[in-house]
C-alpha cells in the first residue's frame, strides 16, 4: 500500500500559492491578489483628517475623504475596476492582469508572482483657470505598476511595486509630468483572520527631462501601516497613513503629510465580495 505514496510523489502537480494577501489592496495600493472569476468586490474606503489636528477636529475624525469602488474578476487572471473619490472629485478605472503565478511542482515552477496594473484617473474638479483654453485630456493622469510578490510562508508575504505615473497636464511648468516610484510592502499574519500590513512608496530621482524636478514640490513619500481583519465575506482594513488620496496618482505622487510629524490619517477600507457568476453548474 506504499504504492499510493510512491505514485503521488512521481507526478507532482503544479501547486499555486494562494491567498498571498487577504484582499486585492495592500493598504492604499494594489496587492498581488485579484478578485476571482465571476466575483464582484465592493470597496468603500475612508481617510479621515490628520491626527495632529487635535481634539477640536476630534483628531481628524471630523473630516473624511472617501472612495467607492467596484472590482470584478473577468477570469482568474484578469480583473477590472472602477471607482469614484470625493478627493479631487476623481473617477478612476483600472485593469489588472496576473502575468505569472508563484507555484511549486509542475514543469515551470515559479518563486514569485507578477501582476501588471494600469489605472486611468480623471480629475473632475472645476478648472483652476477657466479663462484659459482647457482640454478634456488635461484632466487625465495614468499610473502603470508591476507587482512582484512572494508568499514566503503562511505568515509572511512581501511585494515590490515599480510604478510610473504620468500627468497629461502638470500643475505648473516646473512640475514633472512623469514620476517614477518604487513601492515595497508586506504582511505578517498575526492570526488566521488578522494580519499586520506595511506599504511604502519611494519616489525615485529619475526624470525624462534633464534638470526637471522628479517630485512634485512639497510632497513626501507615502507610508501606511495597518491591519487586515477578515470576518466571513468582509475584509476590514484599518490603517494609518500620511496620504489623503486613494488613487495611484494621489498617494504615490501627491502625498503632502509628513508621517513622522504626525500628519497621519486614520482610515479604513471595507471590502465585501459577491459571487455574481457561479463557477460550476450544479447538476
Amino acid at each position: 500500500m506504499k504504492m499510493l505514496e510512491a505514485d503521488s510523489k512521481k507526478e507532482k502537480k503544479r501547486d499555486y500559492a494562494t491567498a498571498t494577501f487577504k484582499t486585492s489592496r495592500l493598504i492604499n495600493g494594489h496587492s498581488i491578489e485579484n478578485a476571482a472569476a465571476g466575483v464582484m468586490d465592493f470597496k468603500v474606503s475612508h481617510r479621515f483628517g490628520m491626527i495632529n489636528k487635535g481634539s477640536y477636529e476630534l483628531f481628524g475624525l471630523d473630516q473624511a475623504t472617501m472612495r467607492m469602488g467596484l472590482d470584478y474578476g473577468i477570469s482568474n487572471r484578469l480583473m477590472i475596476g472602477v471607482g469614484r473619490s470625493t478627493f479631487q472629485k476623481q473617477y478612476d478605472a483600472f485593469g489588472k492582469l496576473k502575468i505569472l503565478r508563484q507555484s511549486k511542482g509542475g514543469r515551470w515552477p515559479s518563486p514569485i508572482s507578477i501582476s501588471a496594473v494600469s489605472t486611468v484617473m480623471l480629475k473632475t474638479l472645476k478648472w483652476e483657470n477657466p479663462k484659459r483654453q482647457n482640454f478634456y485630456t488635461s484632466r487625465l493622469s495614468f499610473a502603470h505598476q508591476l507587482i512582484i510578490a512572494r508568499k514566503f510562508s503562511e505568515g509572511l508575504s512581501l511585494q515590490l511595486m515599480p510604478s510610473f505615473v504620468h500627468y497629461n497636464l502638470a500643475s505648473t511648468v516646473n512640475e514633472p509630468n512623469d514620476i517614477f516610484a518604487l513601492g515595497a510592502g508586506g504582511r505578517i499574519k498575526l492570526s488566521k483572520r488578522l494580519s499586520f500590513n506595511v506599504e511604502y512608496y519611494h519616489v525615485l530621482p529619475l526624470s525624462f527631462v534633464e534638470g526637471e524636478s522628479y517630485m512634485i514640490t512639497g510632497t513626501k513619500n507615502s507610508l501606511a501601516v495597518g491591519f487586515d481583519i477578515e470576518t466571513g465575506g468582509h475584509v476590514f482594513q484599518l490603517h494609518f497613513t500620511n496620504s489623503t488620496g486613494m488613487t495611484e496618482k494621489t498617494f504615490i505622487t501627491e502625498t503632502t503629510g509628513d508621517f513622522f510629524k504626525g500628519d497621519i490619517h486614520f482610515g479604513f477600507n471595507i471590502s465585501r465580495v459577491f459571487t455574481i457568476k457561479n463557477r460550476k453548474k450544479k447538476k
Binding site: 500500500m1 499510493l4 503521488s8 476571482a36 466575483v39 503562511e154 488566521k192 459571487t275 463557477r279
Partner: protein, 184 residues
C-alpha cells in the same frame, strides 16, 4: 549498488505477485456538505481522489489533496483552505483502513455488496479511528465503491468561530464514490 538492484527486483516481484488483486483510481470523487441551514451552500467536490483497494486482504487506502476541493464560491474555497483546513500546513488527508467483511464480497460476480470499513482518517493533522458503511458494486468486472459518513469537526481540531456557527454545522456529511481499475 548490487543490493539496491536486488532489493528493487525483489520489491517489483512482490508487487507483481499480487498485482491481480490490486485495484486503483486517481479520479475518485469525494464531496461533502454542511447540514446547517444557510443561504450560502457549504459544499464542495474533489474529483482527484487517489485510492487503492486490495481485493484479497480488503485493505483500502485513500489520499486526497485538500486544495483539490472546489466550492461554488471562490471566497468559501479560500476560507476553507486558509482558516479551516489550513491546507498550507496540512496539504493532504488520508484514510488507511480495511473492509471488515471482505469475504462478503464476491469480486468475480456482478452485484451490490454492503460493506463496513474501519480505519484511520487523517485530517487537519489529526488521526482518528472511524468506521463507515457503504457498498461495493461489481459490474462486468469493474469495481466501484460508495460510502457515506459524517465527520465531527471538533474531533479534528477544526473550530468554527461563533460568528458563522449558524452557517456551518458541527457534522459534515462526506460521500465517497470511486471507480477502480486493475493496477498494472
Amino acid at each position: 549498488m548490487k543490493k539496491i538492484i536486488f532489493a528493487s527486483l525483489f520489491l517489483m516481484s512482490a508487487i507483481y505477485a499480487d498485482a491481480q488483486n490490486i485495484y486503483m483510481t486517481k479520479t475518485g470523487k469525494i464531496s461533502f456538505f454542511s447540514r446547517a441551514k444557510s443561504i450560502d451552500k457549504v459544499e464542495a467536490d474533489n474529483n482527484e481522489v487517489s485510492s487503492v483497494l486490495n481485493t484479497q486482504t480488503g485493505e483500502v487506502v485513500f489520499a486526497v489533496l485538500i486544495k483539490g476541493f472546489h466550492f461554488e464560491s471562490a471566497l468559501m474555497e479560500e476560507h476553507f483552505n486558509e482558516n479551516y483546513l489550513e491546507s498550507g500546513k496540512f496539504p493532504k488527508s488520508t484514510f488507511k483502513g480495511k473492509i471488515s467483511n471482505p469475504a462478503a464480497v464476491n469480486f468475480s460476480k456482478d452485484g451490490v455488496y454492503p460493506i463496513t470499513v474501519e480505519g484511520d482518517l487523517t485530517l487537519h493533522g489529526v488521526t482518528k479511528k472511524i468506521s463507515s458503511t457503504g457498498s461495493i458494486t461489481i459490474k462486468a468486472g469493474k469495481i466501484s465503491a460508495f460510502s457515506k459518513f459524517a465527520v465531527k469537526l471538533k474531533n479534528f481540531n477544526i473550530s468554527i468561530p461563533s460568528l458563522v456557527a449558524d452557517k456551518i454545522s458541527e457534522d459534515i456529511d462526506v460521500s465517497v464514490d470511486c471507480k477502480y481499475e486493475v493496477k498494472n
